[in-house]
């Protein structure tokens, strides 16, 4: 009995460390790898999957290769791509967030593509470059999203306020519009990329850089961004709210202004209309009220390193048509709340979704998230979101939290 118990204890202990944090994760599902299907690794969900498949079927018809989607969770796509490639079963193409391209290319998971006689000037510059790493083109963008500021027009008019442009505007408006049962301003404060990427515009507008989170400019920007939660103008629950949760609050009149993702806008307009609330939209704010430099979101379709020769050629062709076929692009970007990166398709897309006008304005002065730190971006994301949460909940001063964030992120780089 005793020996059995000890054995059980030992086994349990061993099992603990086995899953405590080892990096030797299991390889992914096995796909046949003859002349056969070219696998596109994607984190698309729901309606997107069949719509993408329709597009890839066209690619199949054009190139003679069968394209198949392999769907994974968005949090895991980075590691999955690497695991599959490491086990000799790498995807032929990867459809992933543009900030991942640098890391994936650096790890050797991507192949440079040939874009034929495509003119780079037909693309918005930043997004086009987001398909590059160290001067080589690995993929092309489909379209871009971003976060914009939405507001309850009636409430702002009533208080005699204009749409906020500067830090001072936003702070003043948030203060004035916060009442019993209503918050002035909401932003998502969920740990990870959700929080970090909605903060970068403020960091840049203060003159800071993602490469140095401990700089006085970064501390100033973080103090500003965390102040709404800290001062009670923003709901504490936003520590767990995504943009989709926030729009419900705006549409119900419980939040006066918010920074939300453009993918939620059509939904917000619909809900607000049903409640008789008029919604205004404007770009993200900046320190002095000038046009903000914002990070652009959106996916890049890139080629995997496991394909070469004719297969790579087929993937390249498919990537080019993915980013340039105007008709399909308008359809895809509408569903995603994106504005096409391909300029000839933008006009048609704006006609379909006029509420993206603010986004198109913002994109003109946008910047890629990996321009400053390249493949080290991922560790910055985690460090900054932890620091912002600490400042907002009063767990640490802005100076301490940001110094720590820089120290943590820089370790082992």
């Amino acid at each position: 009995m005793n020996k059995l118990a000890v054995a059980a204890v030992m086994a349990a202990a061993l099992a603990v460390t086995a899953c405590g944090g080892n990096a030797s994760g299991p390889a992914g599902p096995q796909e046949p790898k003859d002349k056969g299907p070219l696998v596109v690794l994607t984190y698309a969900q729901g309606d997107q999957l069949p719509m993408y498949q329709e597009f890839f079927d066209k690619c199949s018809a054009d190139t003679g290769y069968k394209f198949e989607q392999l769907q994974v969770d968005s949090e895991n796509i980075f590691n999955k791509a690497i695991q599959l490639t490491a086990s000799g079963d790498g995807p032929a193409a990867i459809l992933a967030d543009n900030q991942m391209v640098a890391g994936l290319a650096n790890a050797g998971v991507l192949s440079p593509i040939s874009i034929g006689d495509l003119d780079p000037n037909d693309f918005v510059e930043g997004p086009f470059k987001s398909g590059q790493f160290e001067g080589r083109q690995y993929g092309l963008p489909v379209g871009n999203n971003g976060e914009v500021v939405v507001y309850n027009k009636g409430l702002l008019d009533e208080a005699g306020l204009e749409a906020p442009k500067s830090w001072a505007d936003l702070t003043e408006a948030a203060k004035k519009l916060t009442t019993d049962g209503r918050y002035g301003f909401a932003q998502t404060f969920v740990a990870g990329e959700t929080l970090s990427w909605n903060f970068w515009a403020q960091l840049w507008s203060a003159g800071g850089s993602i490469a140095d989170l401990g700089s006085p400019e970064a501390v100033e920007a973080a103090t500003f961004w965390a102040s709404f939660l800290k001062d009670g103008y923003a709901p504490q629950a936003q520590l767990q709210w995504q943009s989709t949760d926030i729009i419900g609050e705006v549409a119900a009149g419980r939040v006066a202004m918010a920074q939300v993702g453009t993918w939620t806008l059509s939904n917000l307009l619909e809900q607000a209309k049903a409640n008789g609330i008029e919604i205004g939209m404007t770009t993200q704010v900046s320190k002095d009220g000038s046009a903000p430099i914002v990070p652009f979101g959106g996916e890049v379709l890139s080629a995997g390193s496991s394909v070469s020769g004719d297969e790579l050629q087929a993937v390249s062709e498919c990537i080019v048509s993915w980013s340039t076929d105007v008709e399909g692009l308008v359809k895809r970007t509408k569903l995603l709340g994106y504005l096409p990166s391909y300029i000839p398709a933008q006009e048609a897309a704006l006609r379909e979704s006029p509420f993206l006008t603010v986004l198109s304005e913002q994109l003109k002065t946008s910047r890629g998230r990996t321009e400053e730190v390249g493949a080290d971006y991922q560790s910055r994301t985690l460090a900054i979101s932890t620091a912002l949460q600490k400042i907002a909940t009063g767990d640490a001063t802005a100076q301490d939290a940001m110094t720590e964030a820089q120290a943590s992120a820089a370790k082992g780089e």
Partner: protein
């Protein structure tokens, strides 16, 4: 004494064959343990001393970096927070689970109508997959209008930011962990109670021993081996707790509910710093190892006494 020695001398050849057979029987288990437990641990320790990054996953190439990963991990400002949180989480969960589990086991010792049914219901939390349980708790703790806050509202209490405040996030998670762990304690202690011979209680009753006397001098000593196993298993099980925290707060807000396990995962799979993640996992391994060695030592002393 002498005939014992004679006996063993006479039987030596046969004894050797027997021990060879014993080794043969152990081999499959040994191979299994090495493959399933030995390899991952060895890999983890190897990883601790390597400059293993995303590139290495593809190329397989990494360099020996000595203690650099360990130094980086231990000097990280988050290490202290995660370690203290882990110890508080483990000890608080263990203590409260045990007390409530013991009280319930004693309560169910005497069979009464429906006692089996109620006991079965109390074991339910243990059987529900933790991802399901935590999703339910997410609704209960939801900010600001979760079930618990609505319930408190009935009594005029202001809503509490259960999972979104750094004062309450870890405590909320401990509450859930206790809720899950009570069943384990109840089941083991209840079966331990059943194995105590009733004659001992009858004899004590004849000697006019009261309830507390019987509890301290009969029940507790008889339960000691069960309690030891319970606490050691509970410690190891609680120390590695991961999914609960990950689904509810991901260690936040800030780092207020960060445990060594979640931090190790973040380092490895979010920041791609595999060596540092492995170093943190080593700390967990070390902590469980110490407890188990201590337990084995105490057991052996008892057996020899």
């Amino acid at each position: 004494m002498s005939h014992v020695i004679e006996n063993s001398v006479r039987r030596r050849p046969h004894g050797m064959r027997a021990s060879a057979a014993r080794v043969l029987f152990i081999l499959p288990v040994l191979a299994f343990l090495l493959l399933v437990f030995g390899y991952p641990i060895a890999f983890n320790i190897w990883l601790t001393f390597q400059s293993y990054d995303l590139k290495s996953m593809i190329t397989g190439v990494s360099e020996f970096v000595g203690f650099a990963n360990i130094v980086s991990a231990v000097t990280d400002p988050n290490f202290g927070t995660a370690l203290l949180n882990t110890l508080f989480f483990t000890l608080a969960s263990l203590f409260v689970q045990f007390i409530i589990g013991l009280a319930l086991a004693l309560f169910f010792y005497n069979n009464f109508p429906l006692s089996r049914t109620i006991r079965a219901m109390l074991v339910l939390p243990w059987l529900v997959p933790s991802i399901v349980a935590t999703t339910a708790w997410r609704f209960i703790f939801k900010d600001p209008s979760g079930f618990l806050n609505q319930l408190l509202g009935v009594f005029g209490v202001a809503p509490v930011h259960w999972l979104t405040s750094n004062d309450t996030a870890l405590v909320s998670i401990i509450i859930i962990n206790i809720w899950i762990g009570i069943a384990f304690n109840l089941v083991l202690l209840h079966s331990g109670l059943q194995s105590i011979p009733t004659e001992q209680y009858e004899a004590a009753a004849i000697d006019c021993a009261g309830y507390w006397k019987r509890f301290w001098y009969i029940t507790m000593p008889a339960l000691r081996p069960v309690i030891a196993v319970l606490l050691v298993l509970g410690f190891v099980y609680t120390l590695k707790q991961f999914d609960l925290v990950w689904t509810l707060t991901k260690g936040g807000p800030g780092n207020s509910s960060q445990l060594l396990s979640t931090w190790s995962y973040s380092l490895s799979f979010q920041s791609n710093k595999f060596g540092q993640g492995a170093a943190v996992a080593d700390v967990l391994f070390l902590l469980s190892g110490l407890i188990i060695i201590g337990y084995t030592y105490v057991q052996r002393k008892h057996a020899n006494a």
